[in-house]
């Protein structure tokens, strides 16, 4: 009990200094957690994707649609168990700030390929039976207070006009990482309306999604699909869903790299601040350390006092910082809307935050502890008076 008592009392000798140091660590650890969560959210789509799904898009660019007739040919490729399609809608709900992803999907086929979207049987039936029906993820519905039966108007940007959908179901995610911030409606409704309203050539879609029997055959099956449409007017590029998602992430890789770098710089800065505080603290107490040594306490004891004090302060700051990450992240999500569907403080982030706090405590104590252990008793005693 002696060492903890001495460490605790020493830590709170300069209450303001300790409080400010802890505050600095709290802010740094919370900022670190927030930035890491931001990066994680960027990768969430890719991480939550299934290895048993492929995505086929135009080999030229995602903005060029593929003929719907490809579905039949893809279905015949060995290893494929299901084919569905989805088309980006890009509508605005009330105003531009309310961004969320919207897809026109091929009804039951699409839902079958995504078993992680949990929808009650009744809601599934109601959605499939209603041409203007739609389903929304739980997070999205909660955000806007939607209930089943509500009419959701979207102002089209790619497909002009106001599109009104009947919300027939709200799906939940099978896993915490499942995206529940997307809005789905029937491709047929979009396709027929486009043809009627604008006389555009319909029957095309942004991407095909395929489920495959063996995930390890993904490369072969992808090649087979692309080979099917080789030298056609719309050549395809097929890749795993994860690779497809990572393609989006890659577009912002430089920003992500910068965010990650900043998150680590924040830790290094607080480490330096903490090291300065501990050095100052230890220097002030050289006389006391010398007295302890004169009384027979060893160099290691003195070093341990500094280590434990530094570690204690860093851990208190770290734990408070971890706790603060949750409200800060929540506030951040509230501010930016549901753009980042997987914005959730992960266990891994908390573990890294804790490790960072421990590292701050240990690194900050190394030099002061070493110096205090090395200080000669007679020199330390001279510091008193």
């Amino acid at each position: 009990m002696f060492i903890p008592l001495l460490v605790l009392r020493n830590a709170f000798r300069h209450k303001l200094r300790t409080a400010l140091t802890i505050l600095g660590i709290v802010v740094a650890i919370a900022a670190f957690g927030l930035l890491r969560t931001l990066v994680d959210a960027w990768y969430a789509g890719a991480n939550a994707s299934s290895s048993a799904r492929l995505v086929t898009r135009s080999a030229v660019s995602l903005v060029f649609p593929l003929p719907l007739s490809y579905a039949q040919k893809i279905r015949q490729v060995p290893g494929i168990t299901g084919v569905a399609w989805a088309n980006w809608f890009g509508g605005v709900y009330v105003n531009e700030r309310n961004f969320f992803p919207q897809f026109a999907i091929s009804g039951a086929g699409y839902l079958d390929i995504y078993p992680e979207f949990i929808l009650s049987e009744g809601e599934r039936k109601a959605f499939l039976a209603d041409r203007t029906g739609a389903i929304a993820g739980r997070k999205l519905a909660d955000k806007f207070g939607w209930k089943v039966g509500d009419q959701i108007p979207l102002r089209g940007t790619i497909y002009p006009g106001t599109w009104t959908f009947n919300l027939r179901g709200i799906y939940d995610g099978a896993e915490p990482s499942t995206d529940t911030s997307t809005f789905f409606f029937h491709y047929d409704y979009l396709n027929e309306t486009v043809k009627q309203r604008y006389g555009r050539a319909g029957d095309s879609t942004g991407v095909f999604v395929e489920s495959i029997v063996h995930p390890e055959d993904a490369a072969d099956v992808s090649q087979a699909i692309d080979a099917t449409f080789k030298n056609s007017l719309a050549e395809t590029l097929t890749e795993t869903e994860k690779a497809f998602q990572l393609g989006f992430v890659a577009m912002s890789e430089a920003i992500l790299g910068a965010i990650q770098a900043v998150s680590y710089i924040v830790i290094v800065i607080i480490m330096a601040v903490m090291a300065n505080t501990m050095a100052m603290t230890a220097r002030e107490r050289y006389g006391e350390y010398a007295t302890l040594k004169a009384l027979g306490f060893g160099n290691g004891f003195v070093a341990l006092l500094i280590f434990f004090e530094s570690l204690g302060i860093a851990l208190v700051g770290g734990l408070l910082g971890i706790a603060l990450t949750f409200p800060v992240s929540h506030a951040f999500v509230e501010t930016i809307g549901s753009l980042l569907s997987g914005f959730r403080v992960s266990q891994q982030t908390m573990v890294i935050q804790l490790a960072a706090a421990i590292a701050i405590g240990v690194v900050a104590a190394v030099v002061p502890a070493w110096r205090a252990a090395r200080v000669r008793i007679v020199d330390g005693l001279r510091a008193i008076g």
Binding site: R9, A294, L295, G296, F297, G298, L381, I384, G385
Partner: protein, 237 residues
């Protein structure tokens, strides 16, 4: 009992508690060698109360530090209770100090975050005594210095004299072979200084403690049995 330059009671074939032979201490600053103690011989016997006097820079504190084992000589031998302490390693020396030396400093050197009780108990943390045994010993030591009612006070809640009495209790608590006091009254007013000197004299007279005290104050030195003068690192009487 005047201490005026009395010789060491070396007779009767007693072994000295502290035996110093050919002790030198010098500091090297760049290519300059600064001698502090020069080829010094000194014996201190058990139960003695010795005052070390001398002008500033004469080496008296250095000599005290060497005897207490908190500094190492450049050459020569220091035997305390027959142990050549100059030959001990740092960790051996730390252990030796915890068992054999009680320290009293000019500025008390109490731990500001510990109560009077905690400060007195401090050296006992290095022993295997139980909590109950420690408490008993601390209570006795505080009673001896007349501070039983101040046990729960922090150093900054005590006067200078009270702090020094806590330091004396701390120096006594392990029943050391030797008590070293470096200007124990240097930070105190005359009346309080007399109280402290009286306490040290009692420790010597009643408990038989061997005390070596560095002082500038001739009145303080008068309370000792023997007076040793140092000048420029050499014993002059």
């Amino acid at each position: 009992m005047s201490a005026a330059a009395q010789p060491a009671p070396a007779a009767e074939g007693r072994q000295p508690l502290v035996a110093i032979h050919g002790l030198s201490k010098y500091y090297v600053r760049g290519d300059q060698v600064i001698p502090v103690l020069v080829d010094l011989d000194l014996d201190v016997y058990a139960g003695e109360y010795v005052a070390l006097m001398g002008p500033s820079g004469s080496g008296k504190s250095t000599l005290l530090n060497l005897i207490a084992g908190i500094d190492k000589p450049s050459s020569g031998e220091i035997r305390v209770t027959g142990v050549d302490i100059a030959a001990l390693s740092d960790s051996e020396l730390a252990l030796w100090r915890s068992m054999h030396v009680g320290f009293i400093f000019q500025f008390y050197n109490l731990m500001p975050v510990l109560t009077a009780f905690g400060n007195v108990e401090l050296p006992l943390q290095l022993t295997t005594l139980s909590r109950a045994e420690r408490r008993e010993r601390v209570a006795t030591a505080l009673e001896l210095v007349g501070l039983t009612d101040r046990a729960t006070h922090l150093p900054n809640e005590l006067s200078g004299g009270q702090q020094q009495r806590v330091a004396i209790a701390r120096a006594l608590i392990t029943d050391p072979t030797l008590i070293v006091a470096d200007e124990p009254t240097g930070d105190l007013d005359r009346v309080t200084a007399q109280e402290i000197l009286g306490l040290l004299a009692r420790l010597n007279d009643e408990l038989g403690k061997t005390i070596i005290m560095v002082t500038h104050d001739p009145k303080a030195a008068e309370t000792a049995h023997r007076l040793i003068h140092l000048e420029k690192g050499v014993l002059v009487g």
